[in-house]
């Protein structure tokens, strides 16, 4: 019995996974009766995609990486039919997953996500059945509260407390909402769970519904995740088919149904009151709280909103006990956290580590260090609401409060590694550009303040920085933070404030010296041509609008610095990598 599992999460597909799957389909024939071809979600080892795992007799596992259609033939001939592992393509699964503890990702990359049978074989829906048939709602809430689970969307609010509040509210209708609007650029944890193990989220939602007394659940998923939406729909349908969703679950009085609502492209709809407005068909603009959604949420009814990762933890907690969850983590941050490790990292992908693991351990231990081999400069955590943590604080353990103390936030899990080739002023500008774009416009300080901060940063990156800019940025940042109604505005200044705090020298270089040490801000860079690489093709001469490049045909060309306007066009047209930034 051989199972061939092709990793077909969105990133696997982007890396060419469908062509690999097709090749297997073409080659496997009636003679390969003992072989089943399956698709699975993302195991998290994105840097080795396309991944194909061969599981024999349910035990012996071989993981192949960098698979391409032209490699499939050999796998089929040598391994599947010939019984010989193709060693040179094997990925050291154990080694790469060392240091990780997979609770949320327990099934990702292990099961066919559309198969409810495989989910149940691994213990799925047992927690729900136990909750509904053998526990009271109060006991379920106790278990979640005891575990120490805190909201994994970024705010870290104690989940048990939120459920208790929702349970206490009296109303004839209540809602469970799963916030699957993962909007942080660089974060794809929720997407991978939804694509790779959708039932874990549905089960978590149903358990929450039982706990607070809600009969209706809604998954609000961003429209930019079509595969996740498809898998969720399949999962809801298959759960309904076997009576794990719908009326009278396990012959009890508890009924729970789940619907999907697609987002329409608004980052701010990740904020809970904006999300609710969006479901109600309105513009996604947040409102004042109190009242909190647990009191008056969707259509005015008590609503409990949790993140995908939070729900995915719940069945595991009920199945293994609150104590098991508490056994890892720090004093105030229990359990694990999933991170989307990306940027200048050798082994990028999804990792799940116990709280308390240090940033250095994640970057160097699990991530394999930077691509260049040198030390990292900073790690960006928390997306546009977060901050850049410098290498000097790499020993910081992953823990809500300790990360917050650095000026960043835990966030939803995006962790972008930066090195010397990253300009920290440009990073601040990048994030502010994002939040400015996504600001709903309701609050004056957020709407106009972020625009002004962005203008200042753009001016600095273009070489027009003024000495008072740093103070103005800090002042504006503080005002925006204090005067904004929702988390978007309140945290929009964070990337600027943390880079000002830890990378002040880069700001000085830009403002005082008109230089970009990382050579990213083109306006502050000297362009030159490497005579060793230039073939004299003249493409750059034609591209240059400033007439700054000259040279004879087939001879090395030159750039006249006094005419160069630093637009970077020559850099994009050169086919020989001859244009240098100095």
């Amino acid at each position: 019995m051989q199972a061939v599992m092709v990793g077909l999460g969105s990133c696997g597909i982007a890396a060419g996974g469908l062509a690999v799957q097709r090749r297997f389909q073409e080659l496997l024939g009636p003679g390969d009766a003992g072989v089943t071809l399956k698709e699975t979600g993302c195991i998290g080892l994105c840097h080795r995609e396309v991944l194909v795992e061969i599981v024999e007799d349910g035990q012996r596992r071989t993981l192949y990486g960098e698979m391409a259609p032209d490699r499939v033939d050999r796998i089929v001939a040598d391994h599947l039919r010939g019984g010989r592992v193709v060693e040179e393509w094997v990925v050291d699964r154990e080694g790469l997953l060392a240091g990780q503890k997979r609770i949320v990702l327990r099934n990702c990359g292990e099961i066919a996500p559309s198969s409810i049978e495989e989910y149940r074989t691994r213990g799925g829906y047992l927690a729900l059945s136990r909750a509904v048939t053998a526990m009271t709602p109060g006991e379920v809430i106790e278990a979640v509260a005891d575990s120490g689970l805190r909201g994994r969307g970024g705010a870290g609010f104690p989940t048990g407390t939120k459920w208790r509040l929702a349970q206490a509210a009296k109303a004839e209708r209540k809602f469970i909402i799963c916030n699957a609007d993962e909007g942080d650029p660089g974060a794809f944890m929720d997407r991978s769970v939804l694509e790779g193990d959708p039932h874990s989220v549905l089960e978590g939602m149903a358990i929450a519904g039982y706990a607070i007394g809600a009969g209706e659940g809604i998954v609000y998923v961003r429209a930019e995740y079509p595969l996740a939406i498809r898998r969720l729909r399949e999962a809801v349908a298959s759960a309904r088919e076997v009576g794990l969703l719908g009326p009278h679950l396990f012959d009890s009085g508890f009924s729970f149904s789940i619907r999907l609502k697609e987002g329409a492209g608004a980052f701010v709809c990740g904020e809970e009151t904006a999300l609710i407005a969006s479901i109600e068909g309105r513009r996604g603009m947040p409102r004042v709280r109190p009242p909190f959604p647990t009191e008056a949420g969707l259509w005015g009814f008590p609503t409990c909103i949790n993140n995908v990762e939070t729900f995915a933890n719940v069945p595991w907690i009920l199945a293994h006990g609150a104590g098991a969850f508490r056994s890892c983590g720090t004093g105030n941050s229990k359990g694990t956290k999933v991170f989307a490790l990306a940027g200048k990292i050798r082994r990028g992908g999804l990792v799940e580590v116990p709280m308390g693991t240090t940033i250095d351990e994640v970057v160097y231990g699990i991530g394999g260090g930077t691509v260049s081999g040198g030390p990292f400069k900073a790690v960006q955590m928390g997306g546009p609401s977060g901050g850049c943590i410098p290498a000097s604080l790499g020993g910081t353990p992953i823990d809500y409060e300790q990360i917050t103390a650095t000026g960043a936030i835990m966030g939803s899990g995006g962790m972008v590694v930066m090195d010397d080739s990253t300009c920290m002023v440009d990073v601040a500008r990048f994030f502010l550009n994002f939040t400015q774009n996504e600001s709903c416009g309701k609050c004056t300080f957020c709407r106009i303040g972020t625009k002004r901060m962005l203008e200042i940063l753009e001016r600095i990156c273009a070489g027009g920085g003024k000495p008072e800019d740093v103070n103005t940025l800090a002042e504006l940042g503080e005002q925006i933070r204090m005067s904004s109604l929702c988390g978007l505005g309140q945290t929009a200044p964070n990337p600027v404030l943390t880079t000002l705090r830890y990378f002040h020298d880069e700001y000085e270089a830009h403002i005082r010296d008109r230089k970009c040490p990382a050579k990213v801000c083109l306006a502050l860079v000297e362009f030159g041509i490497d005579p060793g690489k230039c073939t004299g093709c003249g493409l750059c001469v034609r591209a240059c609008d400033a007439g700054a490049i000259s040279g004879r045909s087939k001879e090395a060309h030159r750039i006249d610095g006094s005419r160069c306007v630093r637009c970077g066009k020559c850099l994009t047209v050169c086919r020989f990598d001859a244009v240098r930034k100095g």
Binding site: C11, A15, D184, S278, G281, K344, Q380, F430, F434, G568
Partner: protein, 167 residues
């Protein structure tokens, strides 16, 4: 009237029409209706706004307000191939800026615009979630990762070469 919803009073209905007919009066249907209209027509034509306003009771001006709030909704048709350039953090750090400049140059348009020949629409999007392959561009449903300006040019050429502009 047929019960399968395909024909109502002899008029053939699309998925959008069906949703309008069956669910138009329910609360919270505005965004799903807008999404269905866009799926049917490729964008939201003025006629659809009127129909939705009538079915939901939401004034057309308010419908317009919802449309312009969300990035997904378009009031103008797209080109044949939609190019989505990822401007997420990981892609930014790995050179997305260069990729976007290359697109601007090759297509002669800025982000949000459609090329003169109607072949390409160029959109910058926040994050496609394929961070390990940064920088990433999606053309239609296909993602292209680890891009360089040269590689991107090659891909665009292959789209232009096929008759009818299909790659």
């Amino acid at each position: 009237m047929e019960t399968n919803g395909e024909h109502a009073n002899g008029v053939v209905m699309s998925a959008f029409g069906r949703m309008l007919w069956r669910h138009g009066g329910e609360p919270g249907m505005l965004i799903p209706l807008l999404q269905a209209a866009q799926d049917s027509c490729g964008y939201i034509p003025p006629m659809a706004i009127e129909q939705i306003a009538m079915a939901t009771g939401v004034p057309a001006a308010e419908v317009y307000g919802v449309i312009t709030f969300y990035k997904q909704f378009r009031l103008r048709p797209l080109g044949r191939h939609v190019i989505r350039a990822c401007k997420g953090t990981a892609c930014h750090v790995q050179g997305a800026e260069m990729i976007c400049r290359t697109l601007e140059e090759e297509l002669g348009i800025r982000q949000g615009e459609t090329s003169e020949d109607g072949l390409f629409t160029f959109l910058e999007v926040a994050c496609l979630g394929c961070c390990s392959l940064a920088p990433v561009v999606m053309i239609g449903e296909q993602a292209y990762g680890r891009l360089t300006p040269q590689g991107l040019r090659r891909i665009l050429r292959s789209f232009r070469r096929k008759p009818g502009g299909d790659a």
